[in-house]
Amino acid sequence: MSSQQAVKFLTIEERLNVNAWDTDIYRPHIKIKDPDKCRFCEKKPCTYMCPAKCYVQQGDIVVLSTEACLECGTCRVVCPYENIDWNYPRSGMGVWYRFS
């Protein structure tokens, strides 16, 4: 392994893919309470504070996908409108950290 080799920037999707998951696609553990409120949220801090990029801005709305959520709780705290209904996944589902 040469230290001269180029280091490739891995996208967040590529990085999340290396984790062990047991995803509960039928019961999302986080919900945006009132999606209309996000339209008026100027900065949408969830879209760049979430370390897993679960929140993506599309037009003036925010689309949430919880499948690769790292369960940190950042979104709940940074949402300026307290518009996030946040829980832990049920029954041991979600991310399974083994090396951190």
Binding site: M1, V18, P89, G92, Y97, F99, S100
Partner: protein, 426 residues
């Protein structure tokens, strides 16, 4: 999960705090149930990477025997990074010591879980607790998960930094951005341990703890870290949630941005990403603590209570967590009644936990200011660059300082004031 079972003690959360309490109580003959939401103890946990041994020796000396310590820290580095250069201070003890070690928190917690189980504690996993149960007089008497209720004489809340149960019980308010920081971390696995040791200048089993300030957080409060596991490293970035207005790189790319920085890239080239994790960490210490740590039937331990010391490069959580769990267990053993648990608050006050957290309660004034993360890394790097750059006239310390001052908006008075401020609080 057993329906309507009755235990002496129910512990919410199989982390270092909850398991330390469970271990001590089970060892004393209490019937203890630990309820954990993950698949196994440790599977929802993230930290930077280092555990300090001093207080563990007092509160949980068993760890010396067989806890999974990957590497004992011998080398400490602090780096100030600017856009153009990196200035590093390195400290290494001549003789190896065993005062802090690097281990995966999953492995350490798993070890502690086995210790608690072998003492007789029961751990149920894959169960999320929804509510702390109270009786008509307001005393905490158990926990509820979905339709299931578990009753106990004592409840220990070790749910972690996201204290949903305490919020629902009306004991604390919602977490605020100024209470917490988010850490995003990559575990990078080398081909073998020798490669890691050669790259980082370590002998076999020796560990490195490395803190970075400046560029990794875009000069915002927080920092970055690199810790050495056995054949992998933990590389991560921590930013305060209050920074959200000023951050240009999204948090999900901060750790990768650091890994691919030319200075770091050459150290970790060839190492493969093994895990990408993230977690909140308390940064407000005592300022985010609940009004009390004990209520009728309830004791609050670990991160849930804000027991994490954040003082610049010194970040300590696991020793605080374990010690608070042990003090909670001692309280229950000594008082023998759920309505006399205020002794736990007394024990915390006379222990290092509240002593140290109170001593550093103003650290966030320094750590959330601009000087430590913005001015200082830029200033030090600019000065050394001016000093080491030989061109027309050879630089002197004075001329390099003068040039540096002229380049930025720095005044000597401002630097001195900020240095004094940091010395006063850190």
């Amino acid at each position: 999960m057993p329906m309507s079972s009755k235990f002496d003690v129910v512990v919410v959360g199989a982390g270092p705090a909850g398991l330390a309490a469970a271990y001590k109580l089970a060892s004393a003959g209490f019937k203890v149930l630990v309820v954990e939401r993950g698949r196994e103890p440790g599977s929802k946990q993230v930290y930077g990477g280092r555990i300090y041994a001093y207080w563990l020796d007092k509160y949980l000396p068993e760890f010396r025997k067989d806890a999974p310590a990957d590497r004992w820290v011998r080398k400490e580095r602090i780096s100030l990074m600017s856009d153009e250069s990196v200035t590093t201070m390195e400290f290494e003890v001549v003789k190896p010591e065993k005062s802090s070690f690097v281990a995966s928190l999953a492995a350490f917690t798993s070890w502690l879980g086995k210790l608690a189980t072998s003492a007789g504690a029961k751990i149920v996993t894959e169960v999320v607790v929804d509510e702390l149960l109270r009786d008509e007089r307001g005393r905490f008497v158990g926990v509820r998960s979905g339709q299931d209720k578990i009753y106990a004489d004592y409840v220990i809340d070790a749910e972690g930094v996201n204290r949903l149960l305490l919020e629902r019980a009306g004991i604390v308010q919602r977490l605020k951005p100024e209470h917490v920081a988010v850490g995003a971390k990559e575990v990078l696995k080398f081909e073998n341990r020798k490669v890691l040791e050669d790259r980082l200048g370590l002998s076999e089993d020796e560990g490195l703890a490395w803190a970075f300030a400046g560029w990794p957080t875009e000069y915002l409060p927080g920092g970055a870290f690199l810790y050495t596991y056995r054949d992998s490293v933990a590389l991560g970035v921590v930013v305060y949630l209050t920074s959200w207005r000023r951050l240009a790189t999204p948090v999900y790319d901060l750790a990768e941005r650091l890994r691919t920085h030319p200075y770091i890239a050459k150290l970790v080239a060839g190492a493969n990403l093994q895990e990408y994790s993230a977690h909140l960490t308390p940064v407000a210490g005592i300022s985010m603590a609940p009004p009390r740590f004990s209520y009728d039937g309830l004791l609050i331990v670990g991160d849930t209570a804000g027991f994490l010391m954040h003082a610049g490069v010194l970040i300590r959580g696991v020793d605080f967590a374990v010690a608070s769990g042990v003090l909670a267990a001692e309280t229950i053993k000594e008082v023998g009644r759920p309505d006399a648990l205020s002794r736990y608050d007394d024990k915390l006050r006379s222990s290092f936990i509240l002593r140290d957290l109170l001593a550093f309660k103003n650290a966030d004034k320094v750590l959330s200011g601009q000087f430590a993360f913005d001015d200082m890394p830029k200033l030090v790097n600019a000065f050394l660059r001016n000093y080491f750059t030989v061109e027309d006239r050879p630089p002197t310390v004075a001329s390099a300082l003068k040039t540096t001052m002229g380049e930025g908006n720095w005044s000597l008075a401002k630097i001195l004031i900020n240095t004094m401020y940091a010395l006063a609080y850190l």
